[in-house]
């Protein structure tokens, strides 16, 4: 089911929670709504589900206006942050709830419940009480409960934020796998960019109720539309482009030319400040580097070491792989040499 949001605005009193949101979601697509807390992503999700009355705008499903339909008529199923499992029911009763409401045959309900519990890797727990399950298991029940009614739309409201890191990774793979298997149109709300990138087809980045950018994970990461998106999507090195000396330095490194066409710095009459964006992986640390800076911080996380370099008053973060074997010295306060690879992926963004 393709969904189209047209000029949606939602308010709580005077507070504008969502401001003129437009979005088209393809049939079978998984969209991530990404942003910091309070950015309006959950409000947008609940609006789509029909759990909040629509203030302004319209929601179309397969070109049919569903804005006025009550939630139970929208054929959407939601997976909640704290799971929202019914505490007075067993696992099986929870999963069967939606079917029972829709007056399914008991035998069919039983079969479907078994099937779906297998799918979410929870076989044999049918008669457990909800309180006896671990967080991960509860999350699976919530997923099963949503899936079993075969909804046209799956809505996820930060479903993994209460789980441990490792569990989170395995759960998101499961969700992605099942979503792709059933090809259910899905909307996934999260504030974790890694989660958004790994789980979705496209990402919608939001801030203060406004959609900042819509795009493939690679697009929003590599070609952020503005500074906010750049920084939200991972570690970003951003050099302000109004300081001519440094730009000249950068231009001197010879690799600038290719990206120049993207954004003619020199010709910019635009008053708006612009930044040159490059990611830590674009920085190559090595004795032969063109630039020199001072190490102000470094930390090793497994095979990757991140070095923060003071480069003429700017902090540049670089990544070194296999630091222990690389022979590079990152002692704090020492000088270090590096190159910036500006080919291709570097990007100029408005400040």
């Amino acid at each position: 089911m393709g969904i189209e949001l047209k000029e949606i605005t939602q308010k709580y009193g005077d507070l504008i929670a969502v401001n003129n949101a437009n979005l088209f979601i393809e049939d079978g697509e998984m969209i991530a709504l990404l942003g910091p807390s309070g950015c309006g992503k959950t409000t947008l999700l609940k609006t789509i589900a029909g759990l909040l009355p629509l203030h302004q705008g319209s929601i179309l499903s397969n070109e049919k206006d569903i804005s006025k339909l009550p939630p139970q008529a929208r054929n959407a199923a939601m997976v909640f942050q704290n799971y929202a499992l019914f505490p007075h029911m067993t696992v099986a009763e929870n999963v069967a709830y939606g079917l029972k409401i829709n007056k399914c045959e008991p035998s069919l309900i039983k079969k479907k419940v078994e099937e779906i519990l297998d799918k979410v890797e929870l076989p044999g727990l049918n008669q457990r009480k909800i309180s006896e399950l671990s967080g991960g298991q509860q999350q699976r029940v919530a997923l099963a409960r949503a899936l079993v009614i075969e909804p046209a739309m799956l809505l996820f409201d930060e479903p993994l934020s209460n789980l441990d890191q490792n569990l989170r990774v395995s759960m998101r793979r499961m969700i992605r796998k099942i979503q792709q298997e059933y090809r259910i149109t899905s909307i996934y709300v999260t504030h974790d960019q890694e989660e958004a990138m790994s789980i979705s087809d496209r990402i919608v980045v939001m801030k203060d109720g406004v959609i900042q950018q819509i795009g493939l994970p690679g697009e929003v990461y590599l070609k952020p539309r503005n500074r906010f998106v750049a920084e939200f999507m991972g570690t970003a090195n951003l050099l302000e482009l109004n300081e001519h000396d440094r730009i000249i330095q950068l231009l001197e490194c010879g690799k600038w030319a290719s990206s120049r066409d993207n954004c003619p710095v020199g010709a910019s009459n635009n008053r708006q400040k612009r930044c040159l964006l490059f990611r830590p992986e674009d920085v190559e640390v090595g004795a032969e580097g063109r630039f020199e800076g001072t190490v102000i911080w470094h930390e090793t996380i497994g095979s990757v070491t991140r070095v923060t370099i003071d480069f003429a008053g700017n902090e540049i973060i670089a990544e070194i792989r296999n630091y222990y074997k690389s022979g590079i010295n990152c002692t704090t306060g020492e000088k270090i040499r590096f190159n910036i690879d500006l080919a291709g992926d570097s990007h100029i963004v408005p400040n």
Binding site: H191, T300, G302, S303, E319
Partner: protein, 328 residues
């Protein structure tokens, strides 16, 4: 040794608690207790803090048995998860609290000392703020200042960063580490986040179900995990069985090269920004490969590739301690 845990056992029930726990901590060391929730890491911290009494074993600090000393008399201080700041006191009063009661300073002196700690954590100007009005990061700093203000011999930190946004977490991590280095405070840090543990610690204690599975430097833990549990918990790992031996390979230690006749096919690509995850499969094996940086653009789904392993564990002669359990 500054701190010694000698065979501590504390069981709440069959599955919860810690068992036979030994640990020594040197002056100025940064130790991390790492493990999934329920592994006993917070229990350990609470035992050191004095909030729990061990069933068995002793706790010594600076050569003195403090096993039965109440928390208010121990030279340790805790930064609690979600901070546990006193909501009815302002920032200054929170920080002064321990100075008054632990250091037994007069109120005036306590407040002026507290100001200096507030300066250390760079919260000047917030002295009179209610703690409820501060941001998460600021609350975190208040909690840190409050704990440091008693001049503890050891600072205990219980997942202090877990309630913060990813980017804030990163910057506070740096501040914490530099504070520890410069002030030379001994810290014991609890987390379930492996990257926090790896980046901050002098040594890591990996815990599971109440046992300390492995104690070592981040490097030891990462490169020479003692078991598949440790390997799996810290970083990702591929377990490979070759003729007669089983090895573990980190996803980033596999190099792919495009080759039309390659053994492996790329079945899935997940772009993660700084790195890209690939699932590649041959007839009988599936490997997870991580490509960092820009090489990612070379590979497309369906491409055939060959792989080279640049670093592996469990090979004879490497001296690695990796012990592989029975594989299917």
């Amino acid at each position: 040794m500054l701190l010694e845990l000698k065979g501590i056992t504390k069981l709440f029930d069959k599955d919860n608690g810690i068992r036979d726990f030994y640990l020594t901590v040197a002056e100025r060391e940064f130790i991390t207790l790492l493990g999934p929730s329920g592994c006993g890491k917070t229990t350990t911290l609470n035992l050191i803090g004095g909030f729990l009494q061990p069933d068995r074993g002793e706790i010594w600090i600076e050569g003195r048995d403090i096993t039965h000393l109440p928390p208010e008399k121990r030279p340790v201080s805790t930064v609690f998860q979600s901070y546990a700041l006193f909501p009815h006191l302002n920032v200054l009063e929170n920080v002064a609290y321990g100075i008054r009661f632990y250091r037994k300073e007069k109120k005036k002196q306590a407040l002026s000392l507290a100001r200096e700690y507030i300066n250390i954590v760079r919260l000047e100007g917030y002295e009179k703020s209610k703690v409820g009005n501060l941001s998460g990061g600021q609350q975190q700093r208040v909690a840190l200042a409050r704990a440091m203000a008693t001049n503890p011999r050891i600072l205990l930190l219980d997942e202090p960063l877990s309630n913060l946004d990813a980017s804030l977490r990163q910057s506070l991590r740096e501040e914490l580490k530099s504070l520890q280095r410069q002030l030379g405070i001994t810290m014991i840090f609890v987390t379930h986040d492996q990257s926090e543990a790896l980046s901050l610690s002098d040594r890591i204690v990996v815990m599971d179900k109440g046992y300390a599975i492995q104690i070592g430097t981040p490097r030891e833990i990462y490169f020479y995990p003692i078991s598949d549990y440790v390997a799996g918990f810290i970083g990702k790992s591929n377990i490979l069985t070759r003729v007669g031996e089983t090895i573990m390979v980190r996803p980033e230690d596999i190099k792919m090269a495009k080759n039309a006749q390659g053994d492996y096919t790329i079945s899935s690509i997940i772009f993660m920004g700084q790195h890209t995850e690939y699932i590649i499969s041959a007839e009988d094996t599936t490997l997870e490969v991580v490509v960092v940086g820009k090489e990612n653009s070379k590979f497309m789904q369906g491409d055939r590739v060959n792989v080279t392993i640049t670093h592996q564990l469990g090979q004879t002669g490497q001296g690695d301690r990796f012990v592989v359990p029975e594989l299917k």
